[in-house]
């Protein structure tokens, strides 16, 4: 038997995961399980940090969100109107929270990359890897592809999702703006996931998000040049 025919045979034998009826091969759980876990995860990490850095009063929550906005879109002008002392504490707290959630995402990303890229053809270039995130990973996570992908061909990629599943059911009791600010910690996870996938393919990248208006969100991937 020639090598090619052996490979063909192997292809026939291997499980076709693209079939929608493949419920027996891939384990499934209720989507709500993830939602509960994700909500509780952010809540727990936040209260764990707050126990270490007590926030003086309830104005803290306002400054917390404001400084979070700065982090989300680093370029935007800060529009804070609160006390600097609580701000510093919150700044620090959010920094740590960001670090933790992003790192959790990073680990998830690395595992997802290993799990889903093992059976696919070799990636030819960076764009190919980004496309893999937009198509394969996004479909696995959100059952849809990313809506728009742009690149300047110099290491910057912009991924736009007009309806990010995790954001679709978010709302705030003080209107959309407040809800948007509160949603920010939840976006550090997908940022981390994307960075994890890139890192798993040997690419050092910085991932941020911008233009957040629920449930629309844009992710920004910038490759870091090896120094």
């Amino acid at each position: 038997m020639s090598i090619t025919s052996a490979i063909n045979l192997f292809r026939q034998l291997s499980v076709d995961e693209s079939q929608p009826s493949g419920t027996t091969q891939t384990r499934q759980v209720n989507e709500a399980c993830f939602d509960y876990l994700f909500m509780e995860m952010v809540h727990t990490l936040r209260s764990q940090l707050q126990a270490h850095h007590p926030v003086p009063d309830d104005s803290g929550s306002v400054s917390e969100q404001a400084s979070a906005t700065d982090r989300g879109s680093r370029t935007s002008a800060s529009n804070t109107h609160d006390m600097p002392s609580t701000r510093e504490v919150d700044e620090q707290l959010l920094e740590t929270l960001y670090y933790k959630i992003e790192l959790i995402g990073f680990r998830i990303g690395q595992r997802l990359a290993e799990r889903y890229s093992k059976d696919r053809p070799r990636f030819v270039d960076t764009l190919d890897i980004v496309k893999f995130i937009c198509r394969d990973i996004w479909t696995k996570l959100f059952r849809k592809q990313i809506d728009n992908l742009k690149t300047n061909h110099r290491g910057v990629y912009t991924l736009q999702d007009s309806q990010l599943r995790w954001l679709t059911r978010m709302s705030g009791d003080e209107g959309t703006l407040q809800a948007t600010q509160q949603a920010i910690p939840y976006l550090w996870l997908p940022c981390g996931i994307i960075r994890g996938i890139m890192a798993n393919h040997g690419l050092d990248a910085t991932v941020t998000f911008k233009d957040l208006s629920l449930p629309q969100c844009t992710f920004h991937i910038k490759l870091n040049k090896p120094s």
Binding site: Q28, L37, R107, L112, K140
Partner: protein, 187 residues
């Protein structure tokens, strides 16, 4: 009788929930446990923290359970456990643990998890095998959910395949019926 629970559980899973690939859920849980282990550097505290998180999830999840299943009041603790296994676990994790080892007073029993999605792809380092109850969040969920229907229970893992045991077993001990009151430590 037991068949009726199973039929309802299957029916809910098929028609009334949004299923998703378990990988994201599994990896997220795994990453979270890793993070907690790093933060606390103490497995006992991680177990506690997982249980607490589960509790917070449980108090919310019960609403979802009741709404989706439309299940009414259970006549006794035995029935409660059957419903948890065949409808509750089925609805959320798509598994049905075996309810077994009933104590003679019908107040405690075991849930044997023949499969557990959380355990997928997981292997514990040796030191963690001694102390960590990896899926301890499940205990908290049961405790929180049952508290919301006025049942105080004690739930803990007694064995886990990740620790090298033959089976994964959760022991549930019924404590008492609660009066209608504001839940303790509600957050």
């Amino acid at each position: 009788m037991a068949k009726q629970y199973k039929t309802l559980g299957d029916e809910i899973w098929k028609n009334r929930v949004e299923p998703m690939n378990a990988e994201l859920f599994i990896f997220t849980y795994g990453s979270l446990v890793v993070q907690l282990v790093k933060d606390y550097e103490d497995y006992d505290q991680v177990n506690q923290q997982l249980d607490k998180m589960g509790y917070n999830i449980g108090v919310r999840l019960i609403e979802d359970f009741l709404a989706r299943s439309g299940w009414g009041r259970c006549t006794d603790f035995r029935e409660t456990m059957e419903v948890i296994s065949k409808i509750g676990f089925k609805m959320f994790l798509n598994i049905t643990p075996t309810v077994t080892s009933w104590a003679s007073d019908n107040k405690s029993c075991s849930l044997v998890l023949d499969e557990n999605p959380l355990n997928d792809f997981v292997e514990l380092p040796l030191d963690a095998q001694q102390q960590l109850w990896y899926s301890n969040i499940l205990c908290g969920v049961l405790r929180g959910a049952l508290e919301m229907v006025q049942m105080q229970v004690e739930v803990k893992f007694v064995s886990c395949v990740l620790r090298g045991d033959d089976i994964s077993e959760i022991r549930v001990q019924f404590v008492r019926h609660l009066q209608e009151e504001v839940p303790i430590n509600d957050e």
